[in-house]
Amino acid sequence: MDRNQEQSDTREPVLSLRGISKNFGAVSALTNIDLDVHAGEVVALVGDNGAGKSTLVKTLAGVHQPTSGTIIFRGKPVTLTDPSAALRLGIATVFQDLALCENLDVVANIFLGRELSPYRLDEVSMELKAWTLLNELSARIPSVREPVASLSGGQRQTVAIARSLLLEPKLILLDEPTAALGVAQTAEVLDLIERVRERGLGVIMISHNMEDVRAVADRIVVLRLGRNNGVFDPDASNEELVSAITGAANNSVSRRAHRRQAQSGQAPAPEGRQ
């Protein structure tokens, strides 16, 4: 992506949320959420359990409808009535439990529900497109004609992400993409996210893993109890992030850091980063 485009994109976000609230009966899961995502930007959504991350992503995926507030996608206010409406607009979601059919091969999974020429499946074109997508992501998939059951967790995540790219979305939502992955596979998926960003897509990524978040995110948006609780740079200190997530400057993590600082006279941040 060239610099010019990046600058023009910075002015107008792909997605902006203004005052999004979502109530489930008496419980307000989201209150007045504001969020901007630009093209070619990875926004990490962090927060404790029950902070509303998943609700927010489901709202964007069209699974839930917001109680109030506006969603502006590529400059126009939109309503996401159901998952297919979100897909049509160009918002793709990769769910935490990948949703792949293990008995089908990689090509069939990537094209599931969107097969080419329905009465005489065009296997050659589909395989070609599958390889193109996977190669653009520099994915390491040994064979696209093996059932998905034979792939590792990281490779399955790759297939799921490649599938979400098939419809050429503008924004991609990743729900815990690195949960349940090993060290090497996590690194592969993080590389993949960077490559998606290089393609000029907006990425929203939910994660509990601060290390992963710092590694790829351009901005870190903290939610707490369904409200915005600060936007941070990836080089923000661990202390800042944790206090934003837990909502208290005096929490177990900061107390530990201060104790260490008093002992050694060092800054707390490196210790937090390990």
Binding site: A99, N103, L104, A149, S150
Partner: protein, 419 residues
């Protein structure tokens, strides 16, 4: 020029061969090795049924030399076709991971409906057949409603259907208990006598090999043009030749007696059509997806309820077709039609042929292979003058073995990373 192109091809390998970690089968020897690897990891395909068939035929042939005589095999094919069509429907429902226990009742009901409308009411036979098929499919639609709307397990819904549809059949036949279909009518001739002329059977036997080669050649050309690896011409040619030789020999052997029944031709035609629908259409792909992971299919935007509905309707529609064929084979619609072992034979045939009871795996050909196994056992035991009591026990045992093989293969596939 050609040399540089060759070098070029070597430096930039084909799109799907760039990953050097993956072993690729090269040539005929490679294909055989890949096949053995697949079998070892539990991806058995139709191997168990071929081995089973060889054992069964050897045993029965040694006990009674009439068993493999052309005459007996022609009869076998006539008998295969009726339950085989039902088994084809069962394959559909098993692929989506559900079951229909009422296929026997539905087939009996269809034959009763045919008898009442055609013989008793004097409707044209074509209309009566069509009506029986439509009613059969409607029963499947009802199961689909119970399953989709009320979340009723297919096991229970079709078990209730088994009894209710049997009741309908008995009600239709009334006090007479059975209706004889007129001898000499085209339908009964079709079920009992009509065989292909020898010339037609040879042409039809040559067709699969030719079609396979032509389609394989076209696919290979397209794949090479697109920069993908393709099946080598030699192995494609070899396979086509082997298939043609085998089929022509079967045709020749059966033509020593009466020849190949048209009814069997119809059955094989349905199997081929179903195989195309399952492997080469969007609908078939979605059937396998729903059977493999229902939630994933739903999230991919597949209309899961529609897929279940088509599976249930095809299953009971084909069961009705099987009922019509067996009525024409027996020249009667009776209270016994579709009862007894028809139900289990149809389901057993699908499973023995290699369609998984757990959903997501199966092929139309499993109905063909499975029913040949089942009918071979039935025919062999009949030739040995054994009673149906023994036949039931032996068929039951074969079904149990088939399910055990399926179950073990599934476990082995899971540990070898194959779905």
């Amino acid at each position: 020029m050609t040399k540089s192109a060759e070098q070029n091809a070597q430096t930039t390998p084909m799109l799907d061969r760039r990953d050097e970690r993956v072993k690729h089968a090269e040539g005929i020897g490679g294909s055989i090795r890949a096949f053995l690897d697949r079998v070892r990891s539990g991806d058995l395909g139709s191997l168990p049924v071929v081995v089973g068939l060889a054992i069964i035929w050897t045993v029965f042939q040694s006990l009674n030399p009439v068993f493999l005589a052309p005459n007996n095999l022609v009869n076998l094919l006539f008998d295969c076709s009726t339950v085989g069509v039902i088994a084809l429907g069962v394959v559909c429902i098993l692929i989506v991971g559900e079951i229909d226990l009422s296929v026997g009742s539905v087939s009996g009901f269809a034959s009763a409906l045919l008898g009442v409308m055609w013989v008793n009411q004097g409707w044209p036979v074509a209309v009566a057949i069509l009506a029986a098929l439509v009613f059969g499919a409607l029963i499947g639609a009802l199961y689909a409603v119970l399953f989709n709307r009320f979340g009723m397990p297919s096991f229970v819904a079709t078990l209730a259907g088994l009894l209710s549809v049997l009741g309908l059949q008995l009600y239709l036949l009334g006090s007479t208990g059975s209706i004889n279909l007129p001898y000499g009518s085209p339908l009964v001739e079709f079920g009992q006598l009509l065989v292909m002329p020898a010339s037609v059977s040879y042409v039809l036997a040559a067709l699969p090999g030719i079609v396979m080669f032509v389609l394989g050649f076209r696919t290979a050309t397209r794949r090479r043009a697109a920069g993908l690896s393709a099946q080598p011409m030699s192995s494609l040619l070899l396979r086509s030749v082997v298939i043609t030789v085998v089929l022509e020999f079967i045709a020749y052997y059966l033509n020593l007696d009466r020849g190949i029944p048209w009814m069997f031709g119809l059955f094989v035609g349905l199997v081929v059509a179903m195989n195309y629908a399952l492997t080469r259409t969007k609908w078939g792909r979605q059937m396998l997806a729903v059977g493999g992971n229902r939630e994933a299919a739903r999230r991919a935007g597949i209309n899961v309820r529609f897929i279940y509905t088509t599976a249930f309707m095809l299953c009971s529609g084909l069961a009705a077709a099987g009922g019509i064929l067996s009525a024409s084979r027996l020249a009667s619609a009776s209270q016994q039609a579709g009862t007894g072992d028809v139900n289990l034979n149809a389901i057993a045939a699908a499973v023995i042929g290699g369609t998984s009871l757990f959903g997501g795996r199966g092929s139309a050909y499993s109905a063909l292979l499975g029913i040949i196994v089942i009918q071979s056992i039935a025919s062999g035991l009949t030739l040995l003058d054994l009673s149906s009591s023994l036949r039931y026990m032996i068929t039951g045992a074969v079904l149990a073995i088939a399910v055990i093989v399926d179950s073990l293969a599934r476990r082995s596939r899971a540990s070898h990373g194959r779905a």
